[in-house]
């Protein structure tokens, strides 16, 4: 996620500092980022010159102090409360008080993460949706003590990225995750009960409601381990049965079949993450 956000920010013409914990990790990120851009060039979405310009605007570092020159900082650790908390506490020491610190999360509480910091008013949430480079929307989430200046800077930043900011107050799952998780969970239940195959379920929803992907392919593409994590968190926070993870999702995750990235989830994928097992009716048609 951090890699895609860095790409999008640089694509918008802004300078980016990417910080990771080891030199090996930053080298890996740099390498994967270049590969992402090559894939987009193969899809005619980008040129070699644009790739070069995007890479030129991104610096890589292991030193957190180098974020001191930034006008806005986004943390992108996976959904782990303790790890996120430790990082923003460090950032709180390094950054000037007026610099907004954005927590990239879809489920965690901004206010709880900000508690006890020296400058909790600059902490706010942002939820970038998969795939970051093309999805047009970003949820911008205000915590209990987030001040208006930080919130407005974040909204302006989202506009600079060419995306639409959705203004929200914090609540588990915010808007997009809370609304889409029961859909995925229910689709998995339908498959588990043998009502229809995964391919038929996805095709019905995709064609019936004009979605780009069906819910199960979408879940494969974001990663079933993430979906499971979100569902567990929402279930824990709200106690609502609609968020209790479907056992089929858990079963696939335990088997390591977490989706498109590993080549297998509800469906099978090649190394370019193209889906291999489409039904004959699930092909593009002009009419």
């Amino acid at each position: 996620m951090g890699r895609s956000i860095a790409t999008r920010v640089s694509q918008a013409g802004l300078g980016v500092v990417v910080r990771d914990i080891t030199r090996e990790r930053t080298d890996q990120v740099k390498d994967l980022l270049a590969k992402d851009l090559d894939r987009e060039i193969d899809r005619w979405g980008l040129t070699q010159a644009e790739k070069k310009a995007i890479l030129a605007r991104i610096e890589f570092t292991v030193d957190l102090k180098e974020t001191g020159s930034c006008d806005l900082v986004i943390e992108t650790i996976h959904e782990d409360f303790a790890a996120k908390r430790a990082l923003i506490a460090e950032l709180d020491e390094v950054l000037k008080p007026e610099i907004p610190v954005i927590i990239n999360t879809s489920t965690l509480s901004i206010s709880e993460l900000a508690q006890g910091l020296r400058h909790p008013q600059r902490i706010l949430g942002m939820h970038f949706l998969y795939p970051v480079t093309t999805t047009r929307v970003v949820e911008v989430v205000k915590g209990q003590v987030t001040n208006d200046d930080a919130f407005e800077s974040a909204r302006r930043f989202v506009r600079i990225l060419g995306k639409v900011p959705i203004q929200e107050f914090e609540s588990p799952g915010f808007v997009t995750t809370r609304v889409v998780m029961p859909l995925i969970n229910e689709a998995a239940h339908v498959v588990m009960e043998g009502v229809a195959s995964a391919a038929e379920v996805d095709l019905a929803i995709k064609l019936g409601y004009e979605f780009r992907h069906g819910p199960l392919e979408w879940a494969d593409r974001v990663g079933l381990h993430r979906v499971l994590n979100w569902l567990e968190h929402l279930f824990h926070e709200t106690g609502e049965a609609k968020f209790r993870p479907c056992p089929l999702i858990r079963k696939l995750v335990r088997a390591g079949q977490t989706g498109a990235r590993v080549g297998k989830g509800f469906f099978s994928y090649d190394s370019e993450r193209s889906r291999l097992d489409r039904l004959p009716d699930d092909t593009p048609k002009l009419s």
């Binding site: 300078g15 899809r43 005619w44 980008l46 040129t47 093309t134 593009p284 048609k285 002009l286």
Partner: protein
């Protein structure tokens, strides 16, 4: 009169200071005192560079965050005691602005008033990638130089004389009345300039000539200039239509687009990038978008490069014939732009075996046409003249500024040809 010419892009400002007057235009003696640009606006390492004839190039790196700061910086450098060319900014007597799109509202260059600025603002929807930046530069320059006149010169204005039969597309008519979807054409300042210069070079009145002008550069377009008026041009609603270009497709069957989108599952932005950045000479050859590299690859026997070269020249040839038919005859063909001025191979391939249109190239003159100079490259027996004329869009903008202020050009918009509403 010293005129500052500004051309503002999304992250750049190009400028020239040109000394000109009605008399100097007539004698073709106007001259550029300085030219340069600011690049990477919005970043901490923006670069300002300036060339002054006879001096070493000047360059500085500084943080320039927006267009106003860029124009302010340009004015400072121009009036700097060591590397400037002006004693002070008050020497600038007028500013000419390049505007990409004037829609159907502007058929000529125009003195900028608040009313005109609002009308240019209304054209933003037609050129969302260009007009907002042009307007930002205009607003910056007007606030920094509030006491001098500002003139807007449009890429589209020259083609406003096209008749409806040339600019209306064969689509449902509501698309024209609702969204102003029609052919506008671009490179208008260049087509106008080189057609006027062609008449001068031939020593004939422009009003007696039917000229096909070929602007072949990064973007390529041709225009049919009938007795001084553009009656048709190859670029359309956007600068994508018409000739093959470095990375743009030019003409194609529009039904290909939904088909490709469906088959390749492309997004609108990928489709747009495919047509504008991955097609043309580059897309066909797989070698380069630069004609010099295409020619080198052709010489080395690269068959796809040769095909790209042939398609490029074939379209010029095809439109030359079409425009001769549109004008009922042909008196001259003029080449300009980076490729048009510097590639004898393209000129020869486009116009060889065209005696039926009265065109006879002088092979020697074509091969040895001097760089940066006007030249006649047709043989003395040729009924139709072929000329190479270096274009200079900044000079046209400076000249239009002087003409508008001198009352030689109408100082307010003259509506072009309109189709029925």
């Amino acid at each position: 009169m010293k005129v500052l010419v500004l051309n503002c892009g999304s992250s750049s400002v190009k400028f020239q200071v040109i000394e000109t007057s009605l008399e100097m235009i007539e004698a073709d003696t106007d001259r550029t005192l300085a030219r340069g640009g600011v690049e990477k606006i919005g970043l901490s390492d923006s670069r300002l560079s300036m060339d002054v004839p006879g001096r070493k190039p000047y360059q500085e790196i500084a943080e320039i965050l927006e267009h106003r700061a860029a124009v302010e910086r340009v004015l400072k450098v121009l009036s700097h005691p060591d590397h400037g060319v002006l004693a002070n900014v008050a020497e600038i007597e007028a500013v000419g602005h390049r505007m990409v799109h004037g829609g159907e509202k502007f058929a000529s260059s125009v003195l900028v008033t608040p009313e005109v600025e609002a009308m240019i603002e209304e054209c933003v929807v037609l050129a969302p990638l260009h007009n907002p930046h042009n307007l930002r530069g205009l607003a910056a320059a007007r606030s920094l130089l509030p006491n001098v006149p500002h003139v807007a010169v449009f890429d589209t204005a020259f083609h406003q004389s096209m008749p409806p039969k040339a600019f209306v597309y064969g689509l449902p008519y509501e698309l024209y009345t609702r969204h102003a979807i029609r052919r506008y054409g671009f490179h208008g300042t260049s087509h106008r300039f080189v057609s006027i210069r062609t008449a001068k070079l031939l020593g004939k009145p422009l009003e007696d000539l039917r000229i096909v002008t070929c602007h072949l550069g990064n973007g390529c377009s041709m225009a049919a200039v009938d007795r001084g008026q553009s009656v048709d041009t190859t670029m359309g609603f956007t600068p994508l239509e018409g000739l093959l270009m470095g990375t743009r497709s030019g003409d194609l069957d529009a039904a290909i687009l939904p088909w490709v989108m469906a088959m390749e599952e492309l997004t609108l932005s990928q489709l747009n990038a495919m047509l504008n950045k991955h097609s043309g000479l580059y897309g066909i050859s797989g070698v380069s978008s630069d004609m010099r590299e295409i020619e080198a690859a052709c010489a080395a026997g690269n068959r796809r490069a040769l095909l790209a070269f042939e398609i490029f020249c074939y379209r010029i040839r095809k439109y030359t014939g079409a425009y001769a038919a549109a004008m009922g005859g042909l008196d001259a063909v003029t080449f300009t732009g980076g490729i048009g001025e510097n590639s004898p191979l393209v000129r020869a391939a486009a116009l060889s075996d065209m005696e039926f249109l009265g065109i006879q190239l002088d092979e020697g003159a074509n091969r040895t046409a001097p760089r940066g100079k006007e030249a006649l490259i047709s043989s003395s027996r040729s009924r139709t003249a072929v000329a190479v004329i270096p274009t200079n869009e900044e000079r046209v903008i400076a000249r239009d500024t002087v003409r508008v202020l001198g009352g030689v050009m109408p100082s307010f918009s003259v509506p072009g040809n309109e189709a029925p509403r």
